[in-house]
């Protein structure tokens, strides 16, 4: 859950990149880390990857990022990925604890549609185990790997993943080429700000 530290003038926010195995979650974080323009070197922390010897995410990838999103406050973003492989479900539940915003990274290749749907259902299930509801959490979709062959049309991905009562922003991306990566990050940040405004005016 987000936290405001008025003493340090900081807002802490946790964003989790979720999705099926090999959909490009780690690549998103790597590309943000490698290509982000920052005012000072301290704005971007080191990237930590807890991976297997085969370079697959075992626990999570993480890096901290600072930006001025709200006047007078430094917003400290914590970007996480989860392991996509089915067997690591417990780990995904642990990483989701305290989540404020979610980027669901779907693989656009036709033969990955079932995995996308299962992973999305798994996200909803895991949130429920934490007494959270996806409808209450800002999230965006990223349709990744648009540079590959045998792609599902965006309309079909929307039909499968974005057919809830409230349609959420969806971004086409080719994370390996950095296309759509920053648009996605800015998209989830925008939704988080909207939520903060709503909370600020309600309380």
């Amino acid at each position: 859950m987000a936290l405001i530290n008025h003493a340090a003038k900081e807002l802490h926010v946790k964003i989790v990149y979720y999705g099926p195995a090999k959909s490009g979650k780690t690549t998103n974080l790597e590309q943000i880390h490698a290509n982000l323009q920052t005012a000072t070197p301290e704005s971007k922390g080191k990237m930590v990857s807890l991976a297997t010897s085969a370079d697959r995410t075992l626990f999570f990838d993480f890096f901290p990022l600072e930006a001025t999103v709200i006047k007078g406050f430094t917003t400290k973003f914590q970007l996480f990925t989860v392991p996509g492989q089915v067997i690591y479900n417990t780990t995904r539940q642990l990483v989701l604890r305290g989540v404020d915003g979610i980027v669901f990274v779907a693989d656009s290749q036709y033969d990955k549609m079932q995995e996308n749907v299962e992973s999305f259902q798994n996200l909803e299930d895991n949130l429920r185990t934490l007494n959270l509801n996806l409808a209450d959490i800002p999230y965006v979709l990223q349709y990744n790997k648009r540079d590959m062959d045998c792609l599902a049309p965006v309309d079909f991905l929307d039909f499968l993943l974005n057919n809830k009562e409230t349609e959420v922003p969806a971004f086409e991306a080719s994370a390996t080429k950095v296309d759509g990566v920053f648009e996605t990050l800015n998209g989830i940040t925008r939704l988080l700000l909207q939520k903060f405004i709503a909370q600020g005016t309600q309380s």
Binding site: L3, K14, I32, L36, Q37, F59, T189, G200
Partner: protein
């Protein structure tokens, strides 16, 4: 409602952690939110990145706590990592926060745990106060413009 900490909380955290470091001779103490945020720190250690350690400690704690639940251990309250030069304790303060302490391994782990226990109890009181505080509003909505977020993060 978003939990909020103010300068009074920071002063109390600082006093408690300084007292802990002084009594226990530990090197560094961190208050960590379970989501992985570093809330407060006192002390220093060469080559130590508190932000990274806070995140790793909170996730390691969560994983070990889950394991404890699996083996039906009802009272998991802390984690001890014994090193050859530096050792660490990660202790549960309340459902939201943890205390992380790093100390030279030649020091008595029992003494560190004892003094950390005192600190945990004092921190829990202040954190309860902080989390139950209900300020008028989190932010002035005039200071937030969601459209600004279209361009917050840029590619180099």
């Amino acid at each position: 409602m978003i939990p909020q900490l103010n300068s009074e909380d920071a002063a109390v955290f600082d006093a408690i952690l300084r007292d802990l470091l002084e009594k226990s001779e530990s090197s560094i103490a961190l208050i960590v939110e379970r989501a992985g945020y570093l809330i407060h720190q006192c002390g220093s250690l060469t080559g130590f990145d508190p932000t990274q350690v806070a995140t790793l400690a909170s996730n390691a704690f969560a994983a070990t706590e889950f394991m404890a639940n699996l083996i039906s251990e009802p009272d998991f309250s802390g984690m001890y990592q014994q090193g050859s030069t530096i050792s660490t304790f990660t202790l549960n303060i309340n459902p939201s926060c943890l205390l992380f302490v790093a100390f030279r391994s030649e020091l008595s782990a029992g003494a560190i745990k004892f003094f950390s226990g005192e600190a945990v109890r004092a921190l829990a009181v202040q954190l309860d106060l902080a989390y139950s505080r209900a300020p008028e509003k989190a932010f002035d909505p005039a200071d937030i413009n969601p459209d600004d977020a279209r361009q917050i993060f840029h590619r180099d």
